[in-house]
């Protein structure tokens, strides 16, 4: 219970006490007025001014007036109590609305934070997952490429061996050096300076 609620309750009690005091005061005042009136009649007259019948009538009238005043006071109190209750309800409603609004706002904020945090975690997990996927993919591709290159090298080497073996077997006894002399001399010419340098060294 916060200070506002406490204040409202204290105010309410104070109001109730004041109302009760007012009612008592009103009742007390009427009673006092009635007894004073009785005393006046006794004083003024000093003798028997009213008959017994009239006295009874006056008494009945006073009782009726007292009942009317009490009813009036009761009605006033009821009205005041109703107004107080209405105001109190309004205040309580406002207070509850404000409190609930604050709570809802806090709840919304908290929910938004949780949502943001969850989204961030999901994003992080997705990012890590993507990175790992990419790394694995790269690694796999590198392995495949290396394996492919290795296979290709092996194939090329085999192909070289096959082709050179085929040519060697085909030309073993049929190599015409005379026909190759142009190529041989041209090859020697292409490295002439290097050969000369090595020979002279």
């Amino acid at each position: 219970m916060d200070s506002f609620q406490l204040t409202v309750l204290i105010g309410l009690f104070t109001l109730v006490i004041v109302n009760v005091a007012y009612i008592l005061w009103a009742l007390g005042g009427k009673l006092h007025h009635k007894s004073s009136s009785k005393r006046y009649n006794v004083h003024v007259d000093g003798a028997k001014v009213f008959s017994r019948h009239e006295m009874t009538e006056v008494g009945q009238k006073a009782e009726a007036d007292l009942a009317a005043a009490a009813a009036q006071s009761s009605d006033d109190f009821h009205a005041m109590l109703d107004a107080t209750m209405t105001e109190l309800n309004t205040k309580a409603k406002d207070m509850i609305t404000q409190t609930l609004s604050k709570e809802f706002e806090a709840y919304h904020n908290s929910l938004a934070k949780v949502r943001t945090q969850t989204l961030k975690e999901f994003t992080d997990i997705k990012k890590a997952s993507d990175e790992q996927k990419k790394n694995l993919q790269d690694e796999f591709e590198a392995k495949v490429t290396a394996q492919e290159a290795l296979r290709l090298d092996q194939f090329n080497q085999r192909l070289d061996d096959i082709v050179s073996s085929y040519i060697v077997e085909s030309l073993e006894h049929n190599v015409d050096l005379g026909a190759q002399m142009k190529y041989i001399i041209a090859s020697l010419e292409s490295r002439k300076e290097d050969i000369k340098k090595d020979v002279l060294a």
Partner: protein, 166 residues
């Protein structure tokens, strides 16, 4: 006595030169013996002619030296020069895909003596797996102009041709 000599193209290797030197030594000994006989017997001309191998004959002809008692000093000078040449002349080794004929050997030696060194010697060997071309080795350095090495160095072309053929 040292003199400048010309080596005929037939004499391509130092081994051949060694054999030639040995033969020339024998002939010089015979010429000297004949010269002594001529002196003792008072002959003015040689009565015998010497039987020379074609290689030695070629060397003598190339250097304008005759094999007789009158040219003994020139023969001894030639022998000294050939011996020195055998020990000092540069040598290369050629490997071919087939054994070279004399004409091919001459062609190769001619090119080497013209372009590389006038007194270079070369030896020959055969490797049939070269397919063609040659490998020339000078000391520790080797130049490979064989068909096989070209084939292997351009092996990507084989794969390309193979792919194109597919």
């Amino acid at each position: 006595m040292s003199m400048k000599v010309k080596i005929p193209l037939e004499i391509s290797s130092s081994d051949q030169l060694g054999e030639l030197t040995w033969e020339l030594e024998q002939k010089i000994a015979e010429v000297r013996r004949l010269a002594i006989q001529n002196t003792v017997l008072g002959r003015e001309k040689d009565v015998v002619s010497f039987d020379l191998s074609p290689s030695l004959q070629s060397v003598l002809d190339t250097n304008n030296v005759t094999c007789d008692t009158a040219s003994l000093e020139a023969l001894e000078g030639l022998l000294g020069t050939l011996k020195a040449l055998r020990d000092t002349a540069p040598e290369v080794h050629l490997t071919l895909a087939a054994f070279p004929t004399l004409a091919i050997r001459r062609q190769l030696v001619e090119w080497l003596r013209k372009e590389i060194h006038p007194q270079v010697f070369c030896s020959f060997s055969v490797r049939s797996d070269l397919c063609g071309g040659l490998i020339i080795r000078t000391g520790a350095v080797q130049y490979d102009f064989s068909f096989r090495s070209r084939l292997i160095n351009n092996k990507h072309r084989i794969s390309e041709i193979y792919s194109d053929a597919k």
